[in-house]
């Protein structure tokens, strides 16, 4: 772990199982830091576990809805829509309520097989992941059958690195060093995409992950694109207060949060 080693911290990266979310590992104190989407973090804070965002990597929302039969997702009232069992998709639930689409949410574990098999009418997908899996499966995706949340007033940041506030208060320096090293890692990846892919593919092969270099290349390109702030065009690595406010308001309005979760509740002291 080059950058972490340079920062003097020992890091063990553990992958959660298909159905057990990373947050469960935090709850069980099996991990100290985890990646969460902003909405997930808010839900957890709302449930009474204070968290601190020590690094925000995503600057844009990557979620899309893809529907079968080349139909506009917004016309699919009451459709069965796949959603990750690990707890992404809060904004989709808000949108379903707001637009009175009454989607029937079907939780899935990891891949897009339910969609491919025709067991569901539409599925949520990440523009850097399932979206490309569907393309690889021979689906034709276009403006008609793809709904991008970021283009419809739901551009809320996603992945960030979180620790419990309790842990943070005790290991501030370590958390900061971990965050800085992670940030350096992403910056290096942006400058060295091919080398980054080499490293990724090494672990893909070691762990028999069902993916390929073409797929990983597309994923990396998309993730790096999502890291650029729309307004500044730069990789800012910061939580945006306006996006936190937007997410909080939506989730409070549609009863996904008991109380508002403020920007201050998420950031470091």
């Amino acid at each position: 772990m080059g950058f972490y080693r340079e920062a003097g911290i020992e890091v063990d990266i553990v992958h959660p199982s298909a159905t057990l979310s990373a947050m469960n590992r935090i709850r069980r104190n099996e991990s100290q830091a985890t990646t969460l989407q902003v909405c997930q973090a808010m839900e957890i804070i709302d449930s009474g576990i204070p968290l601190v965002n020590i690094l925000q990597t995503s600057m844009n929302n990557a979620m899309v809805i893809v529907s079968r039969r080349n139909a506009d997702p917004l016309t699919q009232k009451g459709a069965r829509v796949g959603i990750w069992s690990v707890g992404f998709g809060q904004l989709a639930i808000c949108m379903s309520q707001k637009d009175k689409l009454n989607y029937e949410w079907v939780r899935f574990a990891t891949n897009v097989n339910l969609f491919i098999k025709g067991a569901i009418d539409a599925t949520l997908a990440m523009s850097y992941n399932e979206y490309y899996q569907l393309l690889q499966a021979g689906y034709e995706l276009n403006d008609n059958n793809v709904y991008r949340f970021c283009d419809h007033g739901y551009n809320v940041q996603e992945d960030g690195v979180y620790v419990t506030r309790e842990y943070y208060s005790k290991h501030k320096a370590q958390a900061k060093a971990f965050a800085d090293a992670s940030r350096r890692g992403w910056e290096w990846a942006a400058e060295h995409p091919e080398e980054t892919l080499d490293i990724v593919m090494k672990y893909v092969q070691q762990n028999h992950i069902a993916t390929n270099r073409t797929m990983q290349k597309l994923m990396l390109q998309e993730i790096l694109r999502l890291q650029l702030d729309r307004e500044s065009g730069k990789r800012e690595f910061r939580l945006r207060e306006d996006m936190v406010k937007l997410a909080s308001d939506l989730m409070v309005e549609y009863n996904m949060l008991g109380n508002e979760v403020s920007y201050e509740q998420l950031i470091q002291d």
Binding site: T19, S85, F108, G138
Partner: protein, 788 residues
């Protein structure tokens, strides 16, 4: 160095052989092309049949196993539904199913969360055949929420039995299959038709992969299977298994053929496609696999299918090429041998062509086309020899004629005056002329001479070229000389020439244009007659044209009446005469020199006041510059004469008028004596002058007034500048030009001589010059004598 094309062109045998081989090659090509095309079609059909058969058999074999699995599931659900009150029995059922069906890898009977409230959130009985050792467990836990798994949900959501996409299971908290498996999942429904769970029967894809991979109709062919998402589940390249779909490679290297194949397979179609895979041309045979939604394909490289065919094709093409080469060589030899007489003939005729007419042409007795050709050449040789002899004679004759024509041409040139200035002693006339002949002897002529102080001149042009024109020119020239020897009227001279030229000319159709002028040198009085010739130019202060009647050319109409025109040529004037060889001189663009250019050049000459010779030189230079290298097509004749009468400074001027009475002659003699003395003349000279004058005056007195002699008068005017004495005898009698009388033939007796002839003879002998003019109805005879 001879190029290959030239090498071929030089030999008929080579050309003939090549043509034969060329057409043979075309025929072979068409025949072989047809044969290859038919063979190709047959090989393709055979390959299609073979691959399709193998594919069908494989699909059939796989389907039979899959169907066995489906039958097991169908036979199990009633058992489960009948024992829902005893959840633990489910473990027994899963174990029994595996025991009874060793081809199964695992079996799950999974229920909805909290279905058995006493068993908690998770209840899924699972047995796993670990190499014959059957392990059983309740597989649901926090790390493996089975009800979110595809195998569970697909059957539930689709509400029908379904095969999952092949997958690797992962349950970190319990036992699970390490193999790639595919599950046949059947939804379980209670007596009310409510979904309560899913039965899943797992099969390892190892045997499936082995079965499908074993299909290998050709050495380098391979089989593959893709799932409903296009993922490779069977493929010889293990790096693609599970990790790639059939579309993955088209992301970076778009390939419509592969994309279309993928979509066709995903649609569950069956068929054959020809496309390029992994850099090789291949045939892909594909077919769906039962109800699984998967598709199996056999990829056969074209090389494998058509290997034997291509080998055969190469061998046949090789044999044909060798055959054609041999054919070329053999035909070349045969044709060469057959054409040998032709070559011999070509050599022999070549020798004849070089002038060796005695060359013997071989006759090998052949009766075919070559034999006939050879005979024809023999005949031709004989004809040629005769013809050449004839030609030699003709050529000799022609050479002789040409030589004679050259002589004629030089004679013709010699007939024309060649010495310039022609009258060096005279100051009143400067004349220059030239005739530049065209290549052939031509018909231009010019001539001039002075008789009795009159300058006779002419320029003429005979129509046509060659000997007839030259002869007519010579004739015309002679006629001019002879006619003007005793005649001073241009019209009369012209008429005389015309009459002679017209004689026997009707057959020749030749004619002559001519301008004829007679310039009276003492007075500048010019009389002229034109016969169809271009009007001369007068160069004075300005350029002008001498007014001429056109009249018919000579030799056309013998009765033609020509008339004399006259004018007085001013002192210093220059006459310019020419033939149409000047105006019609042509350059390489067939453009004529034209009147316009002639007038421009002559105007320049006017301004520069050039002498006749300079005028001719200037005109010739301009013509030469105009025509440049273009050959001269016609004779070019120019004549230019400048008239500058010398001023006669009169020291003495006396006159005497006598009536026609011989008795007054003594007065005349006194008159002369007196003048002689005044001019201090030698008595002998006075005597000569007196004798000549007396002859002239007596002649007038006797013959000028035949009807009223007594009323006739004769006046004698004497003038002198001290160097010359001029005596002018003037009378109003009948016209009489003594200068026209031939010199008296003194050999004749007195009786035989014509009247007056001796007197005129005497006058000519005694005086230096005589000159006659008839002006205003008067005869004016001038007698001149040099005093020095």
């Amino acid at each position: 160095m001879t190029s290959p094309l030239q090498y071929i062109r030089q030999s008929l045998s080579r050309k003939l052989s090549l043509w034969i081989v060329f057409f043979a090659a075309i025929i072979f090509n068409v025949a072989l092309g047809f044969m290859f095309s038919q063979s190709l079609s047959a090989v393709r059909q055979e390959a299609e049949g073979r691959a399709t058969r193998e594919l069908d058999n494989t699909v059939l074999r796989v389907n039979s196993i899959l169907q066995r699995v489906e039958t097991v599931a169908d036979n199990t659900d009633w058992l489960v539904l009948g024992h829902l009150e005893t959840p633990d029995s489910m473990f027994t059922y899963t174990r029994r199913i595996l025991m009874n069906n060793p081809e199964l890898n695992g079996c799950s009977i999974a229920f909805e969360p909290w279905y058995f409230p006493g068993r908690g959130l998770y209840f899924s009985a699972y047995s796993y055949n670990d190499n014959g050792n059957i392990l059983t467990t309740q597989e649901g836990n926090d790390y493996y929420e089975y009800f979110y798994m595809d195998w569970y949900q697909t059957a539930k959501l689709l509400d029908r039995p379904v095969w999952t996409e092949p997958f690797f299971d992962f349950n970190p908290g319990d036992i699970y299959s390490k193999d790639m498996i595919a599950s046949y999942c059947k939804p379980l429904k209670d007596e009310y038709g409510v979904y309560i769970g899913t039965i899943a029967l797992d099969v390892s894809l190892g045997w499936l992969s082995e079965t499908i991979s074993a299909v290998k109709p050709y050495p380098n062919s391979y089989s593959m299977m893709i799932g409903e998402g296009g993922t490779y589940f069977v493929h010889p390249d293990t790096t693609k298994l599970l990790y790639q779909t059939i579309f993955t490679e088209t992301f970076e290297r778009p390939d419509n053929a592969i994309s279309e194949l993928g979509h066709a397979m995903l649609r569950g179609e069956e068929g054959i496609r020809q496309l390029r895979m992994d850099g090789k041309e291949c045939y892909v045979f594909y077919k769906p696999l039962g109800t699984t939604g998967w598709s199996v394909a056999i990829v056969c490289p074209e090389k494998d299918i058509f290997g034997g065919y291509i080998r055969l094709q190469r061998i046949v093409v090789f044999i044909v090429i060798i055959g054609l080469i041999l054919m070329l060589l053999v035909f070349s030899r045969i044709v060469s041998r057959e054409l040998k007489p032709l070559r011999t003939l070509a050599d022999q005729t070549g020798s004849i062509a070089q002038g060796n007419f005695e060359q013997t042409l071989s006759d090998d007795g052949r009766t075919d086309e070559l034999g006939r050709l050879s005979q024809s050449f023999v005949n031709m040789q004989h004809s040629l020899i005769s013809y050449i002899d004839e030609l030699k004679r003709t050529t000799a004759t022609k050479a002789s004629i040409e030589s004679e024509l050259k002589v004629a041409s030089s004679i013709q040139a010699g007939m024309l005056p060649r010495v310039f200035p022609p009258f060096p002693e005279r100051k009143d006339i400067d004349l220059y002329a030239s005739m530049i002949p065209a290549k052939e002897v031509g018909g231009d002529l010019f001539d001039f001479f002075i008789r009795d102080e009159k300058l006779f001149f002419c320029v003429g042009d005979v129509s046509g070229k060659g000997a007839p024109a030259a002869i007519l020119m010579a004739v015309t020239h002679s006629l001019f000389r002879s006619a003007s020897a005793h005649e001073s009227d241009p019209a009369v001279i012209m008429r005389d020439i015309n009459e002679t030229v017209c004689l026997d000319n009707s057959a020749n159709m030749l004619f002559v244009t001519m301008f004829l002028g007679i310039l009276d040198l003492p007075t500048g009085h010019l009389r002229y007659c034109n016969a169809g010739h271009d009007s001369p130019y007068i160069l004075n202060k300005n350029l002008s044209t001498l007014e001429c009647k056109p009249n018919l050319p000579l030799g056309i109409l013998s009765e033609m009446k020509y008339s004399t025109q006259e004018c007085v040529l001013e002192s210093g004037s220059t006459l310019f005469l020419y033939t149409d060889g000047l105006t019609e001189a042509m350059n390489a663009s067939y453009e004529q020199f034209s009147d316009k250019r002639v007038e421009r050049v002559l105007s320049d000459c006017c301004e520069k006041n050039l002498s006749p010779r300079q005028i001719l030189d200037t005109v010739w230079e301009e013509v030469h510059a105009f025509v440049q290298e273009a050959p001269q097509s016609d004779d070019l004749t120019m004549l230019s004469l400048r008239f500058t009468p010398s001023q006669f400074a009169t020291l003495l001027s006396e006159s005497i008028t006598l009536n026609c009475d011989i008795g007054r002659i003594p007065e005349l003699n006194s008159f002369i004596q007196d003048i002689g003395k005044r001019l201090n003349m030698d008595p002998a000279l006075i005597s000569q002058v007196q004798m000549a004058l007396e002859e002239a005056v007596v002649n007038v007195m006797n013959y000028a007034y035949p009807k009223e002699r007594n009323n006739g008068f004769v006046t004698v005017k004497a003038t002198s500048d001290g160097h010359e004495l001029r005596l002018v005898v003037i009378d109003s009698g009948i016209p009489f030009d003594p200068t026209l009388h031939e010199k008296a033939d003194t050999s004749l007796s007195v009786e035989d001589r014509p009247i007056g002839g001796l007197g005129i003879f005497l006058i000519r002998e005694l005086m230096d010059h005589i000159n006659y003019e008839r002006v205003d109805g008067r005869n004016i005879l001038m007698l001149m004598k040099n005093l020095s």
